[in-house]
Symmetry: C2
Subunit: 205 residues, 2 copies
């Protein structure tokens, strides 16, 4: 059969667009995909679990990991640090395992620089109004944080040009199907294997 | 909603790889896609219907259509001419209708030159041995034609580098699903709409 590396799926979008919900639903449906767990210095939200949603670590430890080059990317968002531990991801990809990463846009840009063959997906809300009501409805942010996030949202949407695909997240089931179709299509891309394919048929001659 | 042109799906592959079967099964399953019917000067095979499988026309008429610029592409394969009537396809694409085209590789190259935003799909047999047994099993070609087609097959497979996607046609249902995933993913590509998306959210501000 054709050998290939795993796909690195990088999912971003404005806060409230639903990227976390999509990733969670995709992972529930499809056990072939591995979630990359990021490290962060921000406080856990209600129900978030260390090692599942994030590795919640202190600033001092985070800084040491940066110095040791242990992140694929790292970024400061508002007052918090976020980073993607490198070793585990590279190991999975080399074994042919697909990995999904939910990440802010600064981080996605850094990953694209070092790993351009990643599949970059931008999750959009159906509208800005809907986005605001989702952030408010989540009830985890202060009024000030809500305003800050919302005012960033439009500027963030401009960054869609750095992504390969977009998903308008109106219906979670449809969004998950869209991501699965992207994964399937990417696995059928000629550029991911072209020499492999020709070599396979040469062997028969 | 986001406006976009229809997708032009261009499907090629060596004779016997099953591109015709895939297209037919896809069209049966999905009535949102329109089949582009090509014109040809070759004789109909058993069961082929004029206006459905091909427009079967005489060489003289074909030559006149070339002179009038009525083809998106045209090519000579062995002793026969094949061509894709232009007007009907462009009209569909402008209306947002997806169109699928089954076409030899010379024709696909010409289409790519004039319509690079097409989606170019290459259908592969599981193996060259399987390919040969399919061509023989079809029973529509003479022994000489079979040898001619088979000896071309490997050379044709080298042309996969001109295509965006490939499908290894082992199981027809799986192949049709793969094509549908490609269609879905292409509709979620940022490059097909980027200004539309940003403008849509600007309107809300």
């Amino acid at each position: 059969m054709l050998n290939r590396k795993g796909l690195l799926l990088v999912v971003s979008g404005p806060s409230g667009a639903g990227k976390g919900t999509i990733c969670k639903a995709l992972l529930n449906k499809n056990d072939q995909i591995k979630l990359s767990v990021s490290a962060t210095t921000r406080k856990p939200r209600n129900g978030e679990v260390h090692g599942v949603n994030y590795f919640f670590i202190e600033k001092e430890e985070f800084t040491k990991m940066i110095e040791n080059g242990e992140f694929l990317e790292h970024a400061q968002i508002y007052d918090n640090f976020y980073g993607t531990p490198k070793a585990a991801i590279i190991e999975c990809l080399e074994k042919g395992q697909d990995v999904i990463l939910e990440i802010e846009m600064q981080g996605a840009r850094q990953i694209k620089e070092v790993y351009p063959e990643g599949v970059f997906i931008f999750v959009l809300p159906p509208s800005l109004e809907e986005l605001k009501s989702r952030i408010v409805g989540r009830g985890t942010e202060t009024q000030e944080e809500i305003e800050k996030r919302f005012s960033c949202a439009f500027e963030e949407i401009n960054q869609i040009v750095n992504y390969d695909y977009f998903i308008v997240n109106e219906d979670i089931e449809k969004s998950v199907n869209d991501v699965e179709a992207i994964i399937s299509a990417e696995k059928n891309k000629v550029t991911r294997y072209k020499n492999n394919i020709i070599d396979k048929f040469k062997e028969e001659l």
